[in-house]
Symmetry: C2
């Protein structure tokens, strides 16, 4: 059996290695356009940051063996042709036309099964000046080397990052470590489109606190300079700079597939079924070049990630070797470290869930990631999205210095299993003070969702409260914090009745007006609402997440 693989970064080598372990007589050939193989593309920002010291660390196995063609031949029994470009698939003849980029020579390679693992490419907006020097994207080892060279020459003092997505933010931290002054320019109204606004505002505040300027709703018109970039012209003015990182997303490399007449989805990725087979039964595809599927909605999606590429590669290999394995889709799980913050999400965001037809309930719940008295406990601001009807957990998002990734992984598992918020609230998660509170953050957040579903109380988001204030609505803002807390962080316009006094002082409040109760995190706000409800108040709401979630 002759297996031909196009692409040597993530999914391709995985497919080849797995095929060789399953079938020692398979003849596996891998074609890669670039010089480097099986490198950790996701590690590039950390290499630029200087946290990863040497290029080869990104290309080595954990025991320090460089993954070059000799390694692949000897260890993985794969013939690797690097610097070799795949030009055309002849599906009739089952041949691939390739070009040796060393010699310029073209030749055809036969296959029984072809695997496309052609990856993705950074989107290069057709803007004037995009080819100036010191305008970079971050996709290949060579990109990182070029950026490092500019840093080493101390010529990356003012950097504009175009695009506030994952790579833009990873590069923000990487370059800030070298002392660069950074401005993020984002065309959309906010950065991090994977996250809901309630949480993005806290990321924005944090970035500003780190000296990073964030310019949203700002479109780049051109890059300008004399050979080397000197400024970015936007629709909101010019930004002088000596380096630009363009990180406005990636697109699947589906050209080879498209030209061969394989089906390509509306996201631009190659269509595959759950066995990773394309519309041609002799051609499989895996990794960034494919179109994925959302596990909850079944909607096609394009979410390129090294983790998914590895899983898909294994599934393709098993099926090619006559086994049976399926990959049903993804949840859009993502995580990014931004300075000391962890920003992560899985499942559906609030709007996504609404569009998919769910009866959406949301929760904002800020809480420390460990027992609150344990030194080093750090805040996680959490948002839960759930469906009132089925009570299913649909999504989780986290922002903050605490270990939010753990809770997102639990949520990803629970969502995959179609668990309800009730199921999650009863999970037997690992508890000891250095690891969580007795009630883990996700359990507390799901209990709040249950209370809302059961009609026990009604929440109102900080953004809605802000709108009420701006509109001068006739609403009573009831702050039930202690006087000391109020003094330390006043909330103008609110009536302060500490929770402990409310059972005596509720008579000071009007029953006919809308009341919004809150405290620091709105646990006491919730108790206040319950006390008032018990006294016959029926227009009391609780501000979701309390003042910790307030960003205005």
């Amino acid at each position: 059996m002759r297996i031909l693989i196009v692409g040597g970064v993530a999914a391709g080598p995985k497919v080849g290695a797995k095929i060789n372990r399953l079938n020692s007589t398979a003849e596996v050939t891998l074609v890669e356009k670039g010089e480097f193989l099986s490198y950790a593309g996701c590690g590039l920002p950390y290499y630029v940051a200087g946290e990863v010291k040497e290029q080869k660390e990104l290309m080595c196995t954990p025991v320090g063996v460089v993954r070059d063609p000799v390694f692949f031949q000897n260890v993985k029994n794969m013939k690797v042709l690097n610097r070799t470009e795949a030009l055309r698939i002849d599906r009739q003849a089952k041949m691939l036309l390739v070009k040796d980029l060393h010699t310029g020579e073209e030749k055809t390679l036969p296959y029984d099964k072809l695997v496309l693992a052609t990856g993705s490419s950074p989107i290069k907006p057709p803007l004037p000046g995009i080819d100036l020097s010191n305008v970079f994207s971050v996709h290949k080892i060579e990109d990182a080397e070029a950026i490092r060279k500019v840093i080493a020459e101390n010529k990356a003092k003012d950097v504009v990052i175009v695009g506030g997505g994952l790579i833009g933010l990873e590069m923000t931290e990487a370059l800030a470590r070298h002392g660069a002054r950074i401005t993020i320019v984002e065309k959309l109204s906010e950065i991090l489109p994977m996250m809901d606004t309630d949480l993005v505002v806290h990321v924005m505040k944090y970035l500003e606190s780190k000296g990073v300027k964030v310019r949203c709703s700002t479109a780049v018109i051109s890059f300008e300079g004399n050979g080397k970039v000197e400024k970015v012209r936007t629709d909101k003015g010019e930004i002088p700079c000596d380096m630009v990182i363009v990180a406005v997303g990636v697109k699947p490399n589906a050209g080879l597939a498209k030209e061969a007449g394989l089906e390509v989805g509306k996201t631009g990725g190659i269509k595959v079924d759950a066995s990773m087979q394309t519309s041609d039964p002799d051609i499989y595809a895996a990794g960034d070049c494919t179109e994925g599927s959302n596990l909850i909605t079944g909607e096609p999606c394009f979410i390129p990630l090294g983790s998914t590429a590895n899983k898909e590669g294994r599934v393709a290999a098993v099926n090619i070797c006559g086994g049976k394995d399926v990959f049903n889709g993804v949840l859009g799980t993502a995580v990014v470290k931004i300075f000391d913050y962890t920003v992560a999400r899985t499942g559906l965001g609030e709007e996504q869930a609404r569009k998919a037809g769910f009866d959406v309930i949301t929760v904002l719940s800020p809480a420390p990631d460990k027992a609150h008295y344990y030194p080093g406990a750090k805040m996680i601001m959490m948002k839960v999205v759930a469906d009132r009807k089925s009570r299913r957990l649909l999504g989780l998002q986290v922002v903050g210095p605490g270990e939010g990734d753990k809770r997102v992984d639990v949520a990803a598992t629970a969502i995959t299993a179609k668990m309800t918020v009730d199921d999650v609230a009863h999970l037997d998660l690992a508890y000891a003070p250095p690891y969580s509170s007795a009630m883990d953050n996700i359990i507390t957040a799901c209990d709040i969702a249950r209370n809302k579903m059961d009609g026990i109380f009604e929440g109102v988001s900080p953004a809605e409260v802000k709108a009420m204030i701006d509109r001068k609505d006739d609403v009573v803002l009831l702050d039930v914090r202690s006087p000391a807390e109020v003094q330390a962080m006043p909330f103008p316009g609110a009536i302060n009745i500490p929770l402990g006094a409310l059972r005596k002082r509720w008579t000071e409040l009007p029953k006919d007006k809308e009341i919004v109760a809150f405290c620091k995190i709105s646990l006491r706000g919730y108790e206040a609402a319950m006390i008032l409800k018990g006294q016959g108040f029926n227009k009391v709401k609780v501000m979701d997440g309390g003042l910790v979630m307030w960003s205005f």
Copy 2:
């Protein structure tokens, strides 16, 4: 509705608070024998360690309000009688006889629903000298204060910890922080009975590296000294010391229930159904005093934890107030921080799974918790227990400096959802280099389990390999590491053929003999086995987890 709650530490206050939120007209009275209420018992070792600085931190809400009777009255609308002992339940009359420990006065309190949240007590072995001073258990605030006093007087130089369970190990770290020389004495053949031997050996090695002496299979005969403890006499000799911590487990406080004729399980805990109702429909119980149920096997168990107490308390409160909620059981999830190691587990251990009738497959998989090139990536030694027939994940255990708690929480969720190892291997977990490898530890471990289930390779545990060597079995130990690795850490008696050379040098190996292949973590060992299998070898096994898991 008059609700009477006995016990004011974890489950009791939770029940009362939740009832008040659900039903503002309920009259809730809580009776607590001790002085202190709602304190964080799990935090005591960290208070002894000095990490938690002040006693009141363990008794405060996150915003610093002490949870005393006034707090409970004003905020939670509960009447709290502390230093009040519950003496007898009159189920007929629905009355509780209590004794005021301040005045010695006895009185009866009526109830419509009674909630037993009487907690657990440390087991006090009836050994001579157990009442000497400086022999402590760690259960109450007063215990921690007494221990701190001895430390402050600089009189805790040599400490014997009796019992190598969770509290014993937490106290080991706590006292080592004060410079104490520590000996753990454990009656059983190993410490940490919640963990399998393959992993416990690594905890033992680590403790020894920290200067902690561990004496297993050692029974205490007596504590000796003149007023104050001076030595511990064991069946293996004497250990001089100036302090003893007895941490040999806790037992449920079920006396009150038992005397009232309520059903008590074989574990000694009060029997409750999934609604937390006891055998008397007007009496509920929650927390450490109850008998739990294993979610996988349905077997009764006694696993007292603050996390479970809170969940059970909420369920009891909802049902008492006419709602409907169920608590189906626990997985025995547990985590403990020991110096810089995280030791955690969930689900069934290997023997437990076998006894429950599963066709057990195990995996030992050591891997870094982050991308291996990311600075600060730390090792997690992981053991997976799964069922060959149903392919269900049954258990996960972790030991090491890496973030094992995250993977255990994912496993707890997956096991609760009855996921197969195939399901887990396809989970869309949060990936970025600071958080995990592209293939997260639990995904890799589950893929190995799948390979074993599918008969792709056969594993053999390091302990079995050690036994083969000791028995002088006619077996070839094939070390496929690089020469540099072998030089750095030789494995005597093994043949070294680096993996990259094996496709040429396999002829050096005998086909008729049993071969055990390995490397550092046995990924290359596995590939070696596949290469040899391809050459017609059919007696090749792979040493599970490689040399990282070797402890001999």
